[in-house]
Amino acid sequence: MTMPITMPTRRQLLAMIGTSAGSAAMYQAMTSMGFAATSDYTGKPPPLAGARNGESVVILGAGLAGLTAAYEMRQAGYNVKVLEYQDRGGGRCWTIKGGDRFTELGGAEVTCDFETGYLNPGPWRLPIHHYAVFDYCRKLGVALEPFIMKNEKAYLHNSKAFGGTPQQIGHVETDIRGYTSELLAKSVRQGALDETVTREDQERLLEGLRGWGVLDKDYRYVKSDELGEVRGWDVLPGGGLMPEAEPSTPIAMSPLLQSGLWNDLFTFNHYNHHPALFQPVGGMGKIGDAFTRECRDLIRFNSQVVRVEQGENGVTVHYRDREGGDDILQETADWCICTIPLSVLAQMDIDVSDAKKKAIAAVPYASAFKVALEFKRRFWEEDEWIVGGISYTDLPIVQIAYPSHDLFDKGPGVLQAAYDTYTAEKNWTYTFNALDPEERIIAAREYGRRIHPQYDAEYMSGTSCAWHRVPWTLGCYGQWTEELRAEHYETLCEIDGRVVLAGEHCSHIPAWQEGAILSALDTIRRLDRRVNA
């Protein structure tokens, strides 16, 4: 393999960090490269001076960015019109339910015949610091319920470790904490830290490690009733004359370290994954539905923009009614907010500066996919007591998420049976996008049955979303790198004459709805200032 002798790319840098310091450190580095950036949102939409002379705005795209802008600008007195390519609003804030059908690029039809449950093909969980999303849910009356991100009974699975047997997250976590505590205690007691830690601090440290790692009196991490209270039991303490409780046995240290499973624990440290997380009752699409309901009279659906023309006095958007033949229609306005994904916009005739055009064309769109499967019963709950949460695996399905809703239901249940984005830089995301809908389901079933053998007997039907096959996005989200941001981000976000862009691609929170909304709020604040300058 030939490696370039130039500066390492971001991916190579991450790979180097990953190889030398483990995936935990790699994810940390990813975080510092902007994947976990949070906002300085103050809890209120920006105060707009408003349209003092009845100024008009045409907004391209009825996703969360476009509809946030529409909602706020109308309230500020602007004359707002939204053009949307699809026959629905909400964009990537979307839920696929039983009875839904859509044709993907390539012509295949994606079907969903679920009797219950749903798939959120895009966003599916709301971290509590995504304040803007929560504010709009409050304002628009979107009911929320807890989303279970971490479940100690869910699995970490390495197909090449423990004979392919998955391990419980809680076991891996308790054991790795126990062993690292034991090793650190050993180092302290052998004097290895005498030069860096004072005698008094050593005593405190040892005391703390004994509790933290559940070590015995000799600072060893071993099976004990005390550990049972932390790690769980083979036989739980019972009542009456039930058998004696039996604590569970730790996984041996060496195979645990070799398995690499504990590296996967870092995902739970991620700020975006801190409990409590939430989800809209009935699917993420409820947020998009609520925005659409509020703005319905402003939106023209089935409108495919083909050209954005601007002059000194205004903007003319040329578009085609997707159900109305080839006639080119026009919408004129004083200003234009364009939220069209860059993957589509890069191919469009738009009057902006060369630098802006270059920025639009510079950002690749990340690959992402999800597969959901419906089963006759909720075997993960009934057989394994996994109620909510996510299992992670080294197989191409990457994760299996257990629903946080309809818990303990008797009827059928839907698993999010495969999901990944190219943020983790695994090439399987491309492969899932290259498969046809039925093939994606086959892959999800075949890999998944290695973790849950019940798949074989309980399978009912499946559905999927491969974001590179989605006609209105041509990919999932703007795949920024540090270098790209340094070169193009400001240019992309700046107002260009009478046109300004917004969307998750114009944010430091790529792929998250908070990014789309914050981008819209910042954009309308700047636009309003320009209007009233």
């Binding site: 030939t2 002798i5 130039t6 790319t9 991916r11 190579q12 390519y85 690029l105 390539g106 699995y155 004979g163 419980q168 769980g232 039991w233 036989v235 739980l236 019972g238 009456g240 004359l241 039930m242 058998p243 569970s248 069209i340 993957s343 589509v344 890069a346 191919q347 469009m348 064309a361 510079a362 950002v363 690749p364 990340a366 690959s367 057989d383 394994e384 007591w385 080294d394 695994k426 090439n427 399987w428 491309y430 492969t431 996008n433 290259a434 086959i442 079933r445 075949e446 890999y447 049955r449 290695r450 053998p453 074989d456 590179h468 989605v470 006609p471 209105w472 041509l474 270098e483 790209l484």
Partner: protein
């Protein structure tokens, strides 16, 4: 096994409460699952699984396929489709069948190494041999017959030069 552990206390309970008419025996609380699931033995009931799984690379961070067709089918096919016909939605995925841009063998290599517009780059995931193989496949499949052959050396020569320029 779960059954043996649960049966014992049930038996004890039944014995202990034999005289109590309304005794409601219940399973002793055994922490779940006593046995972690193991991969099912025997042939998979998932039809077509073997064929589909072959599409996936053996490594997540580097494609392991070597043939041009296999590499195309596991990555490029997502957008440019099975017959190189591309697709049209709100935007377009270029067709690769009968696409005069492929006349220059260097064009496709550069696009693969650096990405282009919404298309991500593949230079990190494929080595020189693989980039050459998939380039040659695209230039000769579906009736394409563009002259010349891309070699790994061609790719190595372009790598580093053009890389990053597409950013």
């Amino acid at each position: 096994m779960k059954t043996t552990i649960t049966m014992l206390p049930v038996a004890l309970l039944l014995a202990g409460f034999a005289v109590a008419q309304d005794a409601r025996p219940f399973d002793a609380p055994v922490d779940s699952p006593p046995d972690l699931p193991t991969a099912p033995a025997g042939p998979s009931p998932v039809e077509g699984a073997e064929e589909v799984l072959q599409m996936f690379s053996q490594q997540p961070d580097q494609f392991t396929q070597t043939g041009g067709a296999a590499l195309y089918d596991t990555s490029c096919r997502a957008c440019h489709m099975g017959e190189g016909q591309g697709a049209i939605g709100a935007g377009t995925y270029p067709h690769l069948a009968a696409n005069p841009k492929l006349t220059s063998k260097y064009y496709i290599v550069t696009v693969l190494l650096t990405g282009y517009h919404g298309m991500p780059r593949f230079g990190d995931q494929m080595d020189d041999e693989q980039i050459a193989a998939v380039s040659n496949y695209v230039r000769t499949a579906w009736g394409n017959a563009y002259p010349g052959t891309v070699t790994a050396e061609d790719v190595a020569g372009l790598r580093g030069k053009g890389e990053g320029a597409g950013d």
